[in-house]
């Protein structure tokens, strides 16, 4: 009871800081299973989409995965398992994948989930007119990029559905050993025939969003701050039924408002406002803190005359060793984001600790590396620009790094860019020096980090550093084209070491994590490494 009284006391204080979003507390339910009110998921404004074909944000995808089951999924321990698919095989070295589907699965409207349901879903999701931001995940499939850009018709030869045999056969552009993981992305969800022609604005009338997941939408969505999304168990669900009779997601205009709604007892969970982790974790406990598949890092512009190229390796290693990751973790994230030791985050299949140059501060090493760099004929550089997109708190991280670098004698300064779009487009075109970046896994595979972030083919894309290494590219390419999992894993590890330790193309700072405050009644709150809260597995007393 001590915890409860503490909680009650802080209610009024915190409710004061921002007005709690309106709404009433749903009283004890007549149904046997408890109901659940979530203030965490949509705590930073309204969701973009919850339509699986369109959503590009973690929060939207989280809800989409509750409404739609794909072929595969990742569980809370990071293991891949079949959701609609019962098994999958490739006979030609990952060029073609055949999925066998479970029988007797149904959409919430009673329609059977068949291989052709995936064809229906994909035709919609990847159509040019939908203009889905996440449609590019389909480019692994032969002919799908042409379909998506309007240059070709539906690649019926690449996606073959056999409803009688319950098989779905998919032909890839290149050998893709990780395809079973990739296809777990929510954009590959099946849809019933009733949704085949639903437009991108189907959410304006949410009841048309019909899925095959453990939950279904109870009512039309009011996607705005102050509104809520309500899901109830799907009566036709073929898998394990959720333990909750209803989940209500409250949409708040900002994190403070959402936290206040939680603190005033309106919800069963809530987010933690930035900078208040320590204070709040002591109040609410650490049940909701979990590391997720994301890494923050600072990249070095490979083409920059001061920090780029092989000749400036010692300056980069000096910077990397100088950074106090523990300080960043504790001062800014108060331990929710932990110091990272490599680019791949813990929890990712194939993760190995210590792949980066260092995870702890090595001031002497930094000083001696800097001296070696100066000994090569370099002079003290003009302040190194730490570029970042403004307004998201990166300035504080950058400030710490500048202070860290000062101890070594390396001058540095802040270089903020106002809007995200401007920032990333400038960085992509090589305007940065030290580039603030981060990556969150789309699917739990090493390739999802290494290829887009560091491969030469990703320059102008997500390879903001414009890093180009023949060795690295060869290692990744060889890993991509093999079906030998252990060989692929070792190649990816060698590639990571090449980029982070040998070339120091980037220096990782912290691994991302999610911190949720939970009411005492919540006894189990599973979050997958991809950051998805498994609402169907939440246990509430």
């Amino acid at each position: 009871m001590k915890v409860l009284s503490l909680g009650k006391r802080s209610v009024a204080v915190l409710a004061a800081v921002g007005l709690a979003v309106g709404g009433t507390i749903v009283s004890a339910h007549a149904a046997t299973a408890p109901t659940y009110i979530d203030c965490q998921l949509f705590s930073a404004g309204e969701p973009d989409f919850i339509d699986p074909a369109l959503t590009s944000t973690l929060v939207g995808a989280n809800l989409a995965t509750m409404l739609f089951d794909g072929l595969t999924d990742t569980d809370a321990s990071g293991n891949l398992y079949g959701e609609v698919a019962s098994k999958w095989v490739t006979k030609d070295g990952a060029k073609t994948w055949a999925f066998t589907l479970k029988k007797n699965l149904k959409f919430s409207n009673g329609e059977a989930v068949l291989p052709s349901s995936f064809v229906t879903g994909w035709k919609r999701a990847f159509a040019a007119s939908m203009a889905s931001e996440v449609a590019y995940h389909s480019y692994f499939i032969a002919g799908m990029e042409e379909y998506n850009t309007g240059k070709g018709g539906w690649p019926s030869a690449s996606v073959v559905a056999d409803d009688s045999a319950m098989t779905l056969t998919i032909k890839m552009v290149n050998p893709t050993a990780d395809w079973p993981s990739i296809v777990g992305h929510s954009v590959f969800s099946p849809i019933p025939t009733t949704m085949a022609s639903a437009s991108s604005k189907v959410e304006e009338d949410g009841t048309k969003l019909v899925g095959n997941g453990p939950f279904m939408l109870e009512k039309a969505i009011t996607k705005r701050a102050g509104g809520e999304v309500v899901i109830v168990p799907n009566p036709n669900y073929g898998g394990k039924a959720p333990l909750l009779s209803r989940v209500t997601f409250k949409i708040s205009s900002d994190v403070n408002a959402a936290y206040n709604a939680f603190a005033s007892g309106q919800c069963d969970n809530g987010p933690i406002p930035a900078g208040r982790y320590t204070e709040l974790l002591t109040k609410w406990g650490t049940k909701g803190v979990k590391t997720t598949l994301g890494t923050d890092y600072w990249g070095f512009n490979w083409e920059d005359p001061t920090v780029g190229g092989t000749q400036n390796k010692y300056l980069r290693s000096a910077i990397s060793k100088a950074i106090d990751r523990t300080q960043i973790s504790t001062v800014i994230y108060q331990g929710v984001r932990k110091p990272a030791s490599g680019l791949l985050p813990p929890g990712l299949p194939g993760y190995k600790a210590g792949q980066g140059l260092t995870s702890s501060r090595d001031l002497n090493g930094a000083i001696s590396d800097y001296k070696r760099w100066l000994a090569l004929g370099n002079k003290t550089p003009a302040p190194i620009r730490l570029s970042y997109n403004d307004g998201a708190g990166w300035d504080k991280v950058a400030s710490i790094i500048i202070a860290n670098l000062k101890d070594v004698g390396i001058p540095a300064k802040l270089d903020p860019y106002p809007a995200d779009g401007t920032y990333f487009s400038k960085m992509r075109s090589g305007k940065g020096q030290m580039i603030r970046a981060g990556w969150f896994a789309d699917y739990p595979i090493a390739d999802n980090f290494l290829f887009p972030l560091l491969h030469t083919k990703s320059i102008d894309g997500d390879n903001l550093e414009r890093y180009s290494s023949v060795t690295f590219d060869a290692l990744v390419d060889s890993a991509r084209s093999t079906t030998n999992k252990s060989f692929a894993q070792s190649q990816y590890r060698r590639a990571e070491v090449q980029a982070l330790r040998k070339d120091v193309a980037l220096t990782q700072t912290v691994n991302r994590g999610i911190a949720t405050v939970l009411a005492a009644s919540t006894t189990s709150f599973p979050i997958t490494p991809l950051g998805m809260i498994a609402f169907d597995q939440i246990v509430k007393n």
């Binding site: 409710a15 040019a128 931001e133 590019y136 604005k201 996607k223 206040n260 779009g421 970046a437």
Partner: protein
């Protein structure tokens, strides 16, 4: 009066058109790449970007976009958010319901406070109340709204809780009987403090204006005439002095009604209210041009209407203004 009204109405329409065009130019011509917000931390392949660009019609020349924008506007369609395809009409409707409530109570409180403070300090000139009023009205002008908003939260939320002053806590649920079914309970709780914050800054300014205007009017000969006629002091103040004193005050009130939007943005941000102001602020920061523009049209039109009403009410208050000439300004 009728022709004058029509003429001013046309002028207002032109002003709205010009202001909206200015905003359109700022958001659609200069930045060039409003889709950039779509491409955040993860870059998007060119094919995906082309699809999105085509979906919002941004592949068309700017003038086509501009005419299309007005075409849709005349049909009552403000377009769709770049961020989540939500109809701007819906966003506007949602934001307006919060903001309208905030601004209505804010403007009303503003008027009540301004009239009460202004009148009493003018009538009881030199009294203790007048002095307190003057200090209040001068002092409050130095306080930006976001500071007074945070201060109000501290004084009426944090402090009463920490000190156990339950009677002062604005965030405690209020007794049901207070609302008496007029306004939903949580509206009261949610709106009273923000509305006060909205009201108080310009209320102080208007009160000062009213006070000095009234003092000047009270020295006028016709006020002496009115007293000499045997009118009661109340009638002289309210019937003869107030109406004359209102002439400069109406301008200030109009200006403050236009400026109230800026106040609302800060208040909504401070109190985390999901209104128009905070929506515009967030959308502008993420370059969600259709939302900014759609909401801005309403704000601009509101400003134009206020200007129009101010001009017309001049003519109503002061017969000396010749409404058929352009000497209104």
């Amino acid at each position: 009066m009728f022709t004058y009204t029509i003429k001013r109405l046309l002028q207002s329409l032109i002003v709205v058109w010009a202001a909206v065009t200015l905003m359109f130019a700022l958001f659609f011509i200069i930045p060039g790449d409003p889709i950039s917000l779509k491409s955040g931390e993860k870059s998007l392949p060119p094919g995906i970007l082309a699809n999105i660009t085509a979906k919002y019609g941004l592949d068309q020349p700017t003038y086509v976009q501009y005419f299309r924008f007005w075409g849709h506007l005349f049909k009552g369609d403000l377009g769709y958010s770049y961020k989540n395809d939500k109809s701007v009409n819906t966003i506007l409707h949602d934001g307006l319901s919060t903001s309208a409530r905030l601004l209505f109570w804010g403007a009303l409180l503003q008027l009540i406070i301004a009239l009460t403070v202004g009148l009493t300090s003018a009538i009881k000139r030199g009294s203790l109340g007048d002095r307190i009023g003057t200090i209040f009205t001068v002092g409050i002008q130095g306080i930006p709204v976001f500071v007074s908003g945070l201060l109000a939260q501290y004084l009426f939320g944090v402090l009463p809780f920490q000190m156990h002053w339950d009677w002062l806590n604005f965030f405690k649920p209020w007794p049901q009987s207070w609302t008496a079914g007029v306004i939903p309970t949580d509206s009261w709780k949610g709106i009273i403090l923000p509305a006060l914050v909205v009201a108080v800054v310009d209320a102080a300014f208007i009160a000062r204006m009213l006070r000095s205007s009234l003092l000047e009017v009270l020295r006028a000969d016709y006020i002496r005439t009115a007293f000499a006629k045997g009118l009661s002091a109340r009638r002289v103040w309210f019937h003869h002095a107030l109406r004359n004193a209102m002439i400069p005050v109406v301008t200030v009130y109009g200006t403050s009604l236009i400026a109230i939007f800026g106040v609302a943005v800060q208040t909504e941000k401070v109190f985390s209210l999901p209104g128009m102001g905070s929506t515009i602020a967030d959308s502008a920061l993420s370059q969600d041009a259709p939302v900014v523009l759609g909401l801005a049209i309403v704000v601009i039109a509101f400003g134009a209407v206020v200007n129009l009403v101010v001009d017309l009410s001049y003519a109503l208050i002061d017969p000396r203004i010749k409404i058929d000439s352009k000497a209104v300004h």
